[in-house]
């Protein structure tokens, strides 16, 4: 505060400087008691906000799960009774079962192909030097940045231009394209952390490049490989936008099937299907996480 009084007392000090000094002094003095704001009110406000956010996020999911066990056709509360009838209906619905099969096959193939390519690409990026490396690395990651609609249309137009008809293979290729960046990011991060000296040791003991990869690099990379596969599977399993562009006429995946069903009516079967998907996409990471930890311990215990 001394600065303020001083500048006031000095006639040569310009008005602007005076205001700046006053403001500076003011902020400094005002901030200190600010820390002493009674904590409880601030924190309870934040707590309340977080709870509301979570409720907002999870309530619809909870509703879907609850309604899927409702014995009534109409989604009203309170629930009329507990039943598995919508799950049974689901099981009896050929379209859904076949969509489920398509999704599973597509997801697994995507995970396997995407992870294989991702490992190879990461090895090249992390362990070798070659011209254009930075460019290729960027190209591998860009599908994350390009909006999926654009990606969907682009690939479609490209295939039109090549006059290749839509097929399951095309859909698979597309899914590999959108999941690859995630795999590459996860695997690269892990590979950077594995010192090349392990590979050098293996080679010095007589292992060639392949043997070194399968006996040393891959086992050490396993947690990342698992995580990558998981990402690839769940992304592929959940994808709607790009899949709508790429799937051929008769093929439906679970999300596109739901999408199609929603156009007619809101059947409780959809709730059941949603519940199945939730269970699948939540349990899979948990299982994989457990497996990864098991591997990290060297496959013991």
């Amino acid at each position: 505060m001394t600065t303020t009084t001083q500048s006031r007392a000095t006639p040569v000090a310009s008005e602007a400087a005076e205001r700046a000094a006053a403001a500076g002094g003011g902020v400094a003095t005002r901030r200190r008691p600010g820390v002493r704001i009674p904590r409880p009110s601030g924190w309870s406000l934040i707590r309340l906000a977080s709870i509301l956010v979570y409720v907002f996020m999870f309530a619809p999911i909870a509703v879907v799960v609850l309604l899927s066990f409702n014995s009534s056709r109409f989604g009203t509360f309170p629930l009329e009774g507990f039943s598995f009838r919508w799950f049974e209906a689901l099981w009896a619905n050929d379209a859904i079962v076949s969509a489920f099969q398509t999704s599973l096959v597509l997801g697994f193939l995507t995970a396997i192909i995407s992870t294989s390519i991702g490992i190879a690409a990461s090895l090249a990026m992390v362990r070798y030097d070659f011209p254009g490396k930075g460019l290729i690395n960027t190209a591998l990651i860009t599908p994350i940045l390009v909006p999926e609609v654009v990606l969907g249309v682009a690939l479609l137009l490209f295939l039109r231009w090549l006059s290749i008809p839509k097929s399951f293979l095309l859909l698979l290729m597309g899914h590999v394209l959108i999941t690859l960046p995630f795999v590459v990011l996860v695997v690269q991060a892990r590979l950077t952390a594995i010192k090349p000296v392990y590979e050098e040791a293996a080679k010095s003991l007589g292992a060639n490049a392949w043997e070194t990869f399968f006996r040393v690099t891959l086992p050490l990379l396993m947690p990342a490989v698992f995580a990558g596969m998981l990402f690839a599977f769940t992304i592929s399993f959940d994808d709607v936008t790009a899949t709508l562009f790429w799937k051929s006429g008769g093929t439906e995946t679970v999300p596109t099937q739901i999408f199609a069903m929603l156009r007619n009516s809101i059947s409780p079967e959809i709730n059941a299907l949603g519940t199945v998907m939730i269970v699948l996409t939540v349990s899979l990471p948990l299982i994989a996480g457990g497996l990864a930890r098991w591997f990290a311990r060297g496959g013991r215990g």
Binding site: A201, S204, G206, E211, L220
Partner: protein
């Protein structure tokens, strides 16, 4: 030069460039069968690079490397049959100790029983017979080091390559491992290249020491040679504690050079020394004398070896007790000298006037560029 078949590794004019930077040049070196050769030098002098070139982990820019008489320039590492021990052991963390040690045996066409027997013997050799089922993370640093060694020797390599294998261990353990490593090497009779920047390690373990600086070899010789007869100022100052005195040649007779040491500031009486000649010197030539700190003796004269004894006076300016030894700083003839002597009953004290003795064989004369005369 020895017969080719007695040479385990031969480097001929080997060179390594990283872009325009020369990491190693003019490396010409024979590593005889069964010998323990140490690459010694300050950080960044190219020791690791040299070792990695022998191992095949680094390509060579020029020259030739031969292992057991076979040119290996183009032979990939996994076909060189070498045992490599890395600084941080590099044990495979996902494999048990038994699997780690047996790793290299997979590529050597052995049946399971033979392989298991070899693993057992290797673990016995490194004195850790009961850890087969453990994992690397469950062993101490010293134990991991032994396993790394077992893994390298179990494949019966032609050459053993060790890059600062002891540097990650604490001091006591390092001494033990030093002895252990040397015992194993001798028992196996395997040619060994050892990289270190620890001169104590190098002098204690090696048959031959290669002192390197700036990517080049400075001197090759037995530990005794490089320590007592350094051929350059670099070697003399890198190993142990040395005094460097500028001097002028006054006379050369019967293999003895008489030198007048240049007096420092203060206008003191210059010291005159007789040193055994190690080159051809002219009268009036400016040279440098290298005297090891432990070769100067305070008080008692050392036993003569036939040559004359130099005796001169000095004043102790500082004493630095180091347990067994004391390091004295003595001013003599206007020069400040370092003297390291064992501590006897009556060590000299600061301010004492002392007599210093130096045998004529115990100093080396270098030319004024800091190298031996040729």
């Amino acid at each position: 030069m020895a017969e080719t078949r007695d040479i385990a590794v031969r480097l001929t004019d080997v060179e390594k460039n990283y872009g325009s930077f020369q990491a190693v040049r003019d490396m010409t070196l024979d590593i005889p069968e069964g010998s323990f050769v140490t690459l010694l030098g300050p950080s960044g002098c190219g020791k690791t690079t040299t070792l990695r070139m022998i191992a095949g982990l680094e390509s060579i820019t020029a020259g030739e490397i031969a292992i057991k008489g076979r040119r290996v320039n183009e032979v990939p590492i996994h076909k060189r049959n070498l045992g490599v021990v890395f600084q941080n052991y590099a044990l495979f963390p996902h494999m048990s100790i038994a699997d780690n040690v047996a790793f290299g045996l997979k590529y050597r066409k052995l049946n399971k029983t033979d392989a298991r027997e070899k693993v057992r013997r290797a673990l016995q050799m490194v004195r850790l017979p009961h850890v087969e089922d453990r994992f690397p993370g469950q062993l101490s640093g010293g134990q991991q080091q032994r396993i790394a060694l077992a893994r390298a020797i179990v494949i019966e390599p032609d050459v053993l390559l060790l890059d600062e294998p002891l540097s990650a261990l604490d001091a006591n353990l390092r001494e033990d491992m030093r002895v252990e490593l040397k015992r194993i090497q001798r028992e196996l009779g395997i040619a060994t290249v050892f990289v270190t920047h620890d001169q104590g390690e190098a002098l204690a373990m090696s048959d031959k020491v290669v002192v390197m600086s700036d990517g080049q070899m400075e001197q090759i010789g037995t530990p005794e040679d490089v320590y007592n007869r350094p051929t350059s100022r670099f070697v003399a100052s890198f190993l142990g504690n040395s005094n460097f005195l500028g001097a002028t040649v006054e006379d050369v007779t019967d293999g003895l050079v008489t030198l007048a040491v240049k007096p420092g500031e203060g206008g003191a009486m210059p010291i005159r020394l007789s040193i055994a000649s190690n080159g051809r010197f002219r009268k009036g030539e400016a040279v440098q004398i290298v005297i090891r700190a432990e070769r100067l003796c305070i008080g008692r004269a050392p036993e003569s070896r036939g040559g004359p004894m130099n005796t001169f006076e000095g004043v102790v300016t500082n004493v630095d007790y180091q347990g067994l030894n004391a390091r004295y700083f003595v001013e003599a003839g206007g020069q400040k000298l370092q003297v390291i002597n064992p501590i006897d009953q009556h060590p000299a004290r600061e301010g004492d006037r002392v007599t210093l003795h130096l045998r004529s064989e115990d100093a080396v004369i270098l030319d004024d560029t800091g190298h031996v005369h040729h």
